[in-house]
Amino acid sequence: MSQALILPVLIPLVAGVIQVPWRSIEPQRVIAFVALAAQAVVAVWLLSAAASEPAVFRLGGWEAPHGIVLVGDRLGTLMLALSTALAAAVLVYVVVGDDKRGRAFHPLFQFQLAGLAMAFLTGDLFNLFVAFEVLLIASYGLLLHGGGGRRHRSAFHYVMLNLAGSLLFLVALGLLYRVAGTLNMAQLGPALAELSGTGRAVAEAAVLLLVAVFGLKAAAFPLSVWLGATYGAALVPVAALFAIMTKVGIYAILRLDTTVLAGLDFGIGPVLHYAGLATVAVGALGTLAAERITDVVSYLLLVSVGTLLLAFGLPEAAGLRGGLYYLVHTTLVTAGLYLLGGVIARQRVPLDDGLQAGAPLAQPLLLGALFTVGAVAVIGLPPLSGFLGKLMILQAPLEHGQRLLGIWAALLGAALVALFVLARAGSTLFWKQGMPSGPQRTAPWGTLVPPAVLLAASVALAAAAGPADRWLAAAADDLRHSEGYRTAVIGEDRGGQP
């Protein structure tokens, strides 16, 4: 039933609204868990339903393009499920106590989820803008959670840049509407195809402006400058949730490139490629320079962003397919590593997650094992999901042979750097001792289970790589042949003419 598409937006929205007036935290937590459980059920349902054909929900019963539609295709519902999984892990982690380190965590968290769901499901470009704003304003609040000067400075930079980015988004939408006459994503493609001359040039400019805006969200070079400081300053569970935030940008680029620009020769591929190369380079540099384990994770996140840009910038279908697999992998693993970093930090009290020799950890074997799994996954070493994803991306350019060298150099080089850095980090955190062991506190289960499950997801994703890839291949196929999406949204008879 297509109405269910509204639920992922509505459930967290209503939950957040109900949470707002409560002063004490317990009822907020209960509401959060109930809402998330419902959200998970809906997400799984939508995910399974998307396998047949894109579900379309016309809000208010209004036909596209005059009304807003929500579209649950494979990609959208996948992103939804991914964000829900991440949210579940973060929620379990955060109720151990981090949610009390500031105000209004739970409503902001729910609103963030609502915004994410809206962004992943909407079929309208302006509605995507609104969704971005919802999730951004919530993220601003979450970013500040916990307080502190470092957090404030980086949050201010993050907010200002994103505000400027939002304005660019508006400019792009204005130009696009002016020349194409619609902002419905399914209709934009055919409308753009009709353009020529100056109209087409303006449209291309607008599309690239959108790429810049989404690139800012995704932290693509050179708009990656904010990520390290921002994520480094955020509270660990917030950073973990934000693993999906850069993916929103990636998602939007992907949506633009496939659903809107499918079949058009609006070449954003080269832009993505070069931005991807540079992003990987900066990410690798940042990993080398990091002084804290969460910073290492942040810059590895940047590397993964670059990797995705490289994959999606390829003309081959295999790039898309491998990129999607890698997208799922990196989101889960990065979040897991952030949370693990948080657990480690709690056991190294004066140093926290700083990469210096400290007192021995309370649970070295367990945390060490988790760290190893996470490191193997994130570096892209076999046999975990990171390797499989990178493998597919490495193979992808062989078909046409374009951009092969760059992609290989970037991916293999970044993996080497990550290997080098994480070996050093792990050796410092788990092996080196620079202080006598103090009073040792083992981590509560609530903080251990989320990273463990997220990292185990990498194992599961690797083990079930075949089925997962088949599903993602279908998703990639949908994206490359957007007729299905268009037909579902605006109907065959109208042939997509505005």
Binding site: F126, F129, V130, E133, I137, Y140, L144, G147, G148, G149, H152, R153, A155, F156, H157, V159, M160, L163, A164, S166, L167, L168, L170, V171, L173, G174, L175, L176, Y177, R178
Partner: protein, 111 residues
């Protein structure tokens, strides 16, 4: 006519960008305000700038009416811009306290 409105937008953009590149929070926020005017105008101009046009109120007279969609979109954008401005302004106040300066990077002492 179109050149005039394009000039308006471009000029506002230029002023906004210049302020956006300043070092203190308030001028930067003012730059954001100017830029949001520019962005709203661009969105608004998505409906074109016919010299003689009526408001999109059906049945209020004769003659061509303006495209209502960009107007509605700008309305939404205006509200969002306001919300964001309020938020970032108060964030700037918090920064001034925690970073002891109203510099955007919080580093230099205020004069």
């Amino acid at each position: 006519m179109t050149l005039t409105v394009a000039f308006m937008v471009g000029w506002l953009t230029a002023c906004g960008v210049y302020l956006l590149l300043r070092a203190r929070t308030l001028p930067v926020i003012l730059g954001l305000v100017l830029l949001s005017h520019a962005a709203n105008l661009v969105l608004f101009l998505g409906g074109g700038v016919p010299a003689e046009v009526r408001p999109p109120l059906v049945g209020s007279g004769e003659g061509p009416m303006a495209d209502p969609l960009p107007q509605a979109l700008v309305l939404t954008a205006v509200v969002i811009s306001f919300a964001m401005t309020a938020f970032v302004l108060i964030l700037a106040l918090r920064n001034r306290r925690s970073l002891k300066s109203d510099h955007v990077d919080g580093e230099r002492r205020e004069s």
